[in-house]
Point group: C2
Chain length 440, copies 2
């Protein structure tokens, strides 16, 4: 049988990875798929750069639409990124009856509903394993591996840049700005790192996982998003002393009132496996009611790891492109007519525990006033760490750090308590609040 | 559409888990599968015990063959275990045109070739996610999630009983026999724990992973199998001092000369994620040439975790039972006509590094003689730990422990060197040799 014909729209890091791995492992992949998979067209504005890689093994075009227009192409892979052009091309490819593979988490997190509906109407598949956690087969595990379960929650380190920065801050006791520059120098962070360090990239990925875990539409606009730019190395150190690590987590959770969907720095017990995921690696913890806690770990980015996920999708489509809809896994794991309208909870209703750091005057009664406010609000305290004044501010200091770990309470209640504590004259700086999850 | 009809042959721990999870999550599972999945028959010799669980929700029979004989049953789940009866029933079910799901690793590791051939000839599926690592979707990840890769190696903690025992030995400094009794009391080890503690269960699972990773037939009879019964807590302690943990690993590796297939205790660096998998949990590390190192973690046994894996297979079959062979994932990941005959390497040809512990006379020249033998054999030394005599044998002792970590060498060469060292008059006890893997 003729190999299935693939066109790559966009030929940068990931495209090159897909092309090279398909070339190198073509025999092995065909032994699995039962049919060859061949990249016969690639598009890149700078055609000369693409030509250098592919030589005479594929046709290089400047205009991605030439791929869509080619009736011999069975599957197009969208690797252009961003929203506008990528969205147009994906919808045009679907309209032309092509199956689509994409690594574009931003596109699907924002426009997924429209794109999946168009694909279903046309009877084509849109696969996106590469959009979340790079080479880790987390989409497949959630959509197919854990189908028996009511998923309870997911918590993931799904952005390598920020995990690299946090690992370095902890290892070397350096501040965020210093480590960011180092990460940029090493190529772990982009020149404009905003999407990574502000948590937006993680929120895109989390949105996709939340949809397939709970059978709800993609709702990126409802996500609560905080990055790591305000994290201080002193909090990383105090967390360590209390037996915790700070990680940027994407968390989505099913509660009786609705679905939590939030990205923020988070204390997690140092003994949890995910707390020990270092550097640019990714890991996702999934808790299901039958299976319990499972974890998936690997490289979350890079040419060949992401290429590995794209190719896994190509193999799936090669198997199933002649199948009917009932034989295919639904785009968002649940049948389109069986989606749920469970709302995403506003952040004020999210229940979690907290780490608080207060810079206070080192005088009698401060602790009593602070804990009094928490008690009044019905927030119970798990642990208190009060530093000696001179440990923090040096000999003769009259200030100190007061660290409090709380038990679970609703975020709105904590907001109110923090506002009250902040108003105390003995609280000298803006209070640091970091959420905490046990992930048990 | 009428729900797909399932019959459970065997209704113990796992069968009950499958039944209960399917009952509890039936709405959620139908939303995913697009069709209901219903257990309409279960078989158990003691029908009264089964009847207690299922009530009037399914027909209980004493004879599993009544399930196979029922034309309404689409899928049979074999949960009887063992070889003889299970094999007969699985082959009869296939002959009757039933799809089969099984958690029986022993059966497939030994008779898989025959069973998969019969299934292919009949056009039915035999699914076995539950046979390896309980609820972790490792079979799906290997067969479908990593199809782009030439898998290089797999290393797994795939037996919860032995991992629980090793965790306890390390935590509490206790000896194997003591912890085994405790594990039996707590239900983590069976009354006859031989299959677990001798590594046979792990070797069954490893055999299946090796086949689907490398596209070779199941070859349980070629596996090298060592359990944990001879492990001493003193080695766990020394390993710790050198920065390593000891785990019972199943390792399968692709080398230019052939495939390694081996289960044995193994030192691994303490900083690796898998070294921190404690208690009865399972984890599998998979290294592929494109994706790099990935890890999959979760509960490797138990009623509902294993039930979760069985049900994932039921959902897959529900989707694909009307598909043709090309649309289904091949049983062993590779197309039956594209299997490889790469041989399994004899243990003597396996190359790895080693931990050696020698009980020696505390006198001058011992270290020189021992290291001289290794040097002569061309085995280079990575680290040496020599204890003070009285640390080991108490005040006035004339004996001590000599610990050596080596670099990589072929097992046959190490066997010869150990025989020579053992013959030295200053080597007072049988030399302990534990293999070591960096898993980088």
């Amino acid at each position: 049988m003729k190999p299935i014909q693939v066109g790559l729209m966009g030929f940068g890091t990931v495209g090159t990875g897909v092309f090279n791995v398909l070339q190198r492992n073509q025999a092995e992949i065909k032994r699995r798929a039962g049919r060859g998979i061949e990249v016969s067209m690639v598009s890149r504005r700078n055609t000369a750069l693409a030509q250098e890689v592919v030589g005479d093994r594929a046709t290089v075009v400047a205009d991605a639409r030439a791929i869509i227009a080619n009736p011999d192409i069975d599957i197009v892979v969208e690797l252009i990124g961003g929203y506008d052009l990528a969205k147009e091309l994906v919808l045009e490819a679907i309209a032309a009856g092509k199956h689509v593979v994409t690594a574009n988490k931003a596109l699907l997190a924002v426009h997924g509903t429209e794109i999946f509906a168009a694909a279903s109407a046309k009877g084509v598949m849109v696969a996106f394993e590469a959009a979340v956690a790079g080479g880790i087969p987390i989409i497949k595990s959630l959509r197919e591996g854990l189908t028996a379960n009511r998923i309870q929650w997911i918590a993931g380190i799904i952005n390598g840049t920020t995990n690299f920065i946090l690992s370095e801050m902890r290892d070397k006791g350096l501040d965020f700005e210093v480590v960011l520059k180092e990460a940029q120098r090493l190529g772990y962070a982009e020149a404009d790192p905003t999407f990574d360090i502000e948590g937006v990239d993680a929120a895109h990925k989390l949105t996709l996982m939340s949809a397939i875990a709970f059978g709800v539409p993609v709702q990126f606009d409802k996500a609560h998003i905080e990055g790591i730019t305000k994290l201080s190395s002193v909090d990383i150190k105090y967390a360590e002393q209390l037996g915790y690590r700070i990680k940027l987590l994407g968390i989505t959770k099913r509660t009786p009132k609705g679905i939590e969907l939030r990205v923020h720095p988070c204390l997690i017990p140092a003994k949890r496996l995910i707390a020990n995921v270092e550097g640019a690696m990714n890991a996702v913890v999934v808790n299901g009611d039958a299976v319990g806690t499972t974890l998936y770990y690997g490289k979350g980015a890079g040419s060949e790891p992401t290429g590995s996920a794209v190719i896994a999708d190509l193999v799936d489509i090669t198997r199933l492109h002649t199948a009917d809809a009932a034989q295919r896994v639904p785009h968002l794991a649940f049948q389109p007519d069986a989606m749920s309208d469970t709302p995403v909870l506003p952040m004020g209703d999210v229940v979690t525990s907290y780490y608080l750091r207060l810079r206070v005057a080192d005088e009698a009664g401060v602790l009593a006033r602070v804990t009094g406010i928490l008690a009044e609000a019905g927030i119970s305290i798990d642990a208190v760490l009060q530093r000696e004044a001179d440990e923090v501010g040096g000999e003769g200091s009259t200030q100190t750090d007061l660290i409090i770990l709380t038990h679970d309470c609703a975020e709105a209640k904590m907001d109110a308590a923090i506002a009250q504590m902040q108003a105390l004259p003995t609280v000298l700086q803006s209070i640091t609040r970091i959420r905490k999850e046990e992930l048990a």
